[in-house]
């Protein structure tokens, strides 16, 4: 090895060690830093959610003159906050679903009871759950919505198996709709067989 080669070798080793150290630090920072991004772009999720909602036979009964859509966010989860902003941005371009005016708002998650209260007051027709929620939290949301007429939609695939009526997945580079039929029944969401055919049933 030439002198230049030796110098290069030393620098290379140092740089490599530095990189590994940086990598270990990043990994070691642990749970709060882990990206929990939705694989399906949020703007596409919103489009799909609104399309599916239009096929929900019970949407007109539950919404009345105005469809109220709530974007559920966890204030301390960066991915949740960012996704919520994206969702609201995408929703701002949509005025109605099947001719019924759409009203979107943001709700910071506290517990399931607050959701139940909101839905019982007739202020909730569609609930969009952003990324960043734990399994227990999604399950608690599902429990609190049992018996309430609302279409709950999860930004991540795992949310559907944990209790949202709809979820989104990506396979073959294309978005997939996931449906939790049991939860749909509990939340009075009724989709025709031709729409269900386009979805993957998770429960």
């Amino acid at each position: 090895m030439s002198r230049q080669g030796k110098a290069l070798g030393r620098h290379t080793r140092r740089r490599f060690a530095l990189s590994v150290g940086l990598f270990a630090c990043l990994v070691g920072l642990g749970r709060p830093l882990i990206a929990d991004e939705a694989p399906v772009p949020i703007s596409l999720q919103v489009e799909l959610m609104l399309k599916v909602a239009a096929y929900d036979k019970n949407l007109p009964h539950r919404s009345g003159e105005r469809i109220r859509l709530v974007v559920l966010v966890k204030s301390h989860e960066a991915d949740s906050v960012r996704s919520a902003a994206q969702a609201l941005n995408a929703l701002s371009a949509t005025g109605d679903i099947a001719g019924v005016p759409l009203e979107s708002s943001l709700l910071t998650f506290t517990d399931g009871a607050a959701l139940t209260k909101l839905s019982n007051a007739g202020n909730l027709a569609i609930l969009y759950v952003t990324p960043g929620f734990s399994k227990a939290e999604v399950e608690s949301i599902a429990t609190s919505l049992e018996g309430v007429s609302v279409l709950s939609v999860g930004a991540l695939a795992r949310y559907a198996s944990q209790g949202t009526v709809l979820g989104f997945d990506l396979a073959g580079g294309k978005p997939k709709l996931l449906v939790h039929l049991g939860q749909a029944k509990k939340q009075n969401v009724e989709l025709s067989s031709s729409v269900l055919k386009l979805m993957r049933v998770v429960e």
Partner: protein, 719 residues
């Protein structure tokens, strides 16, 4: 016949019944057909808003058509790119430009974002040598046009990114056995699953495959070739023909063997990829002899990639990627002719080229979401890499098996650094801009800047208008820069600059329901293409004076930036689905006018590159447990041969390839089958083979394998 008619009737009835029933869900189907890609901007987005013309080929489409390799997928299913079969390899081109003999160096091939093009000769294969089992492929993303802005070298014609499946889509154990009767067999074993790792969701997929091929035996026309210029005697080209006669049945050297494996692990922001490949092939016409089984090409790859993504806050995301690769190459090229060998090796020799490259790098990347809603995002990244490349050539005498020593040997340590910045801004939902640039500095060639500017407009629902300006480069290979032969070739040296391309394009895309149409026009300018140039007398004298050439050298050459290309044309694409996605169809057409400027200012047609090419395909998944039927066709127009010059203006006739596939489930749970049939209408490809005939006639054309039937079974042990 009756059974066939009954089958077709039942298919027609089911199609009619399905289309005429239930509410209209075509809008929803259309949205579910949107392809999500990430290659163009390193961000997940739908193809219509990506800052480049992007095409995505899904695993479902690949499965329906019984596709076995990446080149088949591109040729039959994609728009804008095409591959020509060259011996056992494939040469990739895009939008009217195909640089024959470049071993894939003008397209960047990625596997899950990891660059495959190696650092010695920039090789990347799209045939059996890709090294990613097709069962693992989730989708293939194609970015047409220059794409160096985020990736650096090689992305001149475009980018091909193979994205593999997650554990959920490859769950369980999988055994595959298939054959294109009777010439080859492929066996594969795969496994995938989701699990919990340290409390986080995780998934792993891996597959090992082995492929073995002997044949096909194609007939090459027999003819008497010119005598060896050194000995003046007829050259023995093979053991089966008299001296001086080339050709006959190519039944000994037509062989292919590949073993590869790929593993991918994902868990909570961490992604690990490991890929290994051993690929050996030989061809009757791929040496100076005919049908020489001792002449072969072998490539070996080993790659590792570890990436960790993290969110640092509502506005900042980061990732760090570490990667390391090994590649080595060996070509044994036999010749019974003294003219191909060193002085004194009158009975012939084995020319052996060895090359290798080892490289490792680190790529930190930061994404700043300035407004917190992805409307204004900056992506900043740095890619630092160290490389070791080396190569040598030996001529082994056929008589005593010895070599006088290596020629053109080099070993180099190199460094490179690439830094890129991309800004994406959507001031309104109907208008977006993407501005970016990457600066690459490399101890091999200096520096290269690759900017890109793209504007996307969505004037009405389902539409997208795009304007894109982009530049890209290809770094000179280690071979280009360092290889030298004191008898005939000077090293390219510091004088070689990166090849460059800039292009502009405009496109419009419209989706209505589950139908989609695309039209795009493009123009590109290429400069500084590297070609082997003969030295003039003064240069030859200077080479001898500097002792880079031997004192008695009569002529020599050097690789230089001497050529340029201009190209313009259009792409048209249409695809759609009906019956809830059961019936899928599509077509694409690309037409380009391309001229390559040779040294001296002459402007010629581009060898091998087809001005017009396209495909059409349709597939229908019959209801219940009935099979899926698929038919695809590919058209490639009349094109110049690889040896085309204005003085020797030879062309090969258009090619039409048909492909039919039937696939489905067998009565045993977990067992599936597929049957494919390929037919090529034209007998020849655009390559001339063999030595110069004695009678002055043209060299024969490489025959193509015209008909091949394939069968395969797979057993899935689902969890």
């Amino acid at each position: 016949m009756k059974a066939c008619l009954a089958f077709l009737c039942s298919a027609g009835v089911s199609l009619y019944a399905a289309t005429g029933r239930g509410e209209d869900t075509s809008d929803l189907e259309g949205l579910l057909d949107e392809s999500v890609v990430s290659s163009a901007s390193k961000t997940a987005e739908i193809t219509s808003t990506a800052p480049a013309t992007s095409v995505s080929l899904s695993a479902d489409e690949i499965r329906r058509h019984g596709i076995r390799t990446i080149d088949e997928a591109i040729n039959f299913l994609a728009m804008g790119m095409q591959l020509e079969k060259f011996y056992h390899a494939s040469e990739i081109g895009s939008r009217g430009v195909l640089l024959s003999g470049d071993v894939g160096a003008h397209v960047l091939l990625l596997v899950d974002g990891h660059a495959v093009n190696e650092q010695w000769g920039a090789t990347a294969y799209y045939d059996r040598g890709t090294g990613v089992p097709m069962e693992m492929v989730d989708h293939i993303e194609l970015v047409l046009g220059p794409g160096s802005v985020l990736y650096g070298s090689n992305a001149m014609l475009g980018i091909v990114n193979i994205v593999t499946k997650h554990g959920k889509d490859f769950s369980g154990a999988h055994v595959v056995l298939e054959s294109e009767l009777p010439i080859n067999v492929r066996a594969a074993l795969g496994y995938g699953r989701e699990f919990s790792l340290l409390g986080h969701e995780a998934d792993v997929v891996f597959e090992l495959e082995h492929f073995e091929q002997k044949g096909p035996t194609l007939d090459y026309p027999r003819y008497v070739a010119e005598p060896d210029p050194v000995t003046g005697m007829p050259r023995p080209y093979s053991n089966t023909e008299p001296a001086g006669v080339w050709g006959g049945p190519g039944d000994d050297a037509s062989a292919l063997r590949g073993t590869s494996g790929y593993l991918r692990l994902r868990s909570a922001g961490l992604e690990v990829g490991l890929r290994g490949m051993l690929y050996r092939r030989s061809h009757p016409a791929d040496s100076s002899n005919f049908d020489d089984p001792d002449s072969f090409v072998r490539d070996r790859w080993l790659s590792a990639d570890v990436k960790y993504q993290a969110t640092l806050g509502a506005l900042v995301q980061t990732s760090l990627r570490l990667y390391a690769d090994h590649y080595d190459f060996r070509q044994d090229w036999g010749s019974n002719g003294a003219a191909d060998c060193l002085e004194g090796q009158d009975s012939g020799c084995m020319w052996r080229l060895l090359g290798h490259a080892n490289w490792a790098g680190v790529e930190p990347q930061f994404s700043f979401d300035w407004l917190g809603d992805r409307r204004l995002v900056s992506l900043l990244g740095v890619d630092a890499r160290v490389k070791q490349v080396g190569s040598n050539v030996n001529y082994y005498d056929y008589v005593d098996g010895t070599s006088p020593g290596p020629i053109g040997a080099f070993e180099r340590s190199e460094r490179s650094l690439g830094a890129y910045l991309q800004n994406t801004f959507w001031p309104a939902p109907f208008m977006g801009f993407n501005l970016g640039a990457r600066l690459d500095a490399d101890s091999r060639f200096g520096s290269a800047l690759s900017p890109r500017a793209a504007a996307t407009f969505v004037p009405w629902s389902g539409s997208a208008l795009k304007l894109v300006y982009a530049e890209a480069f290809r770094a000179p290979t280690a071979w280009d820069v360092y290889y030298t032969d004191p008898r005939s070739q000077l090293a390219g040296g510091d004088g070689i600059e990166p090849e460059g391309v800039r292009s502009i394009e405009a496109s419009i895309e419209q989706r209505w329901g589950s139908q989609r149409a695309f039209f795009g026009a493009f123009r590109s300018w290429w400069k500084d293409l590297v070609l082997l140039e003969d030295l003039d007398d003064a240069e030859l004298a200077a080479g001898i004076a500097s002792e880079e050439l031997l004192p008695d050298t009569a002529s020599a050459s050097q690789l230089r930036n001497v050529s340029a290309i201009k190209s313009y044309g259009f792409n048209v694409g249409y695809d759609g689905s009906l019956v809830g996605g059961a019936l899928r169809y599509g077509l694409s057409l690309t037409h380009a006018l391309t001229r390559i400027n040779e040294p001296g200012g002459t402007s010629n047609q581009m060898p091998v590159a087809a001005p017009t090419f396209g495909n059409a395909r349709v597939s229908y998944a019959l209801p219940h447990d009935l099979p899926t039927l698929a038919l695809a066709a590919r058209y490639v127009s009349r094109r110049p041969l690889d040896e085309y010059t204005p003085d020797n203006p030879r062309f090969v006739e258009p090619q039409v390839e048909l492909r039919a596939a039937v696939s489905g489930a067998l009565p045993i749970p977990g067992l599936t089958f597929r049957v494919t049939a390929n037919y090529a209408a034209s007998k020849f490809g655009p390559y001339a083979v063999g030595p110069t005939p004695l009678d002055g006639s043209a060299r024969p054309l490489a025959p193509v394998d015209r008909f091949r039937l394939g069968i395969g079974v797979a057993y899935d042990f689902l969890e």
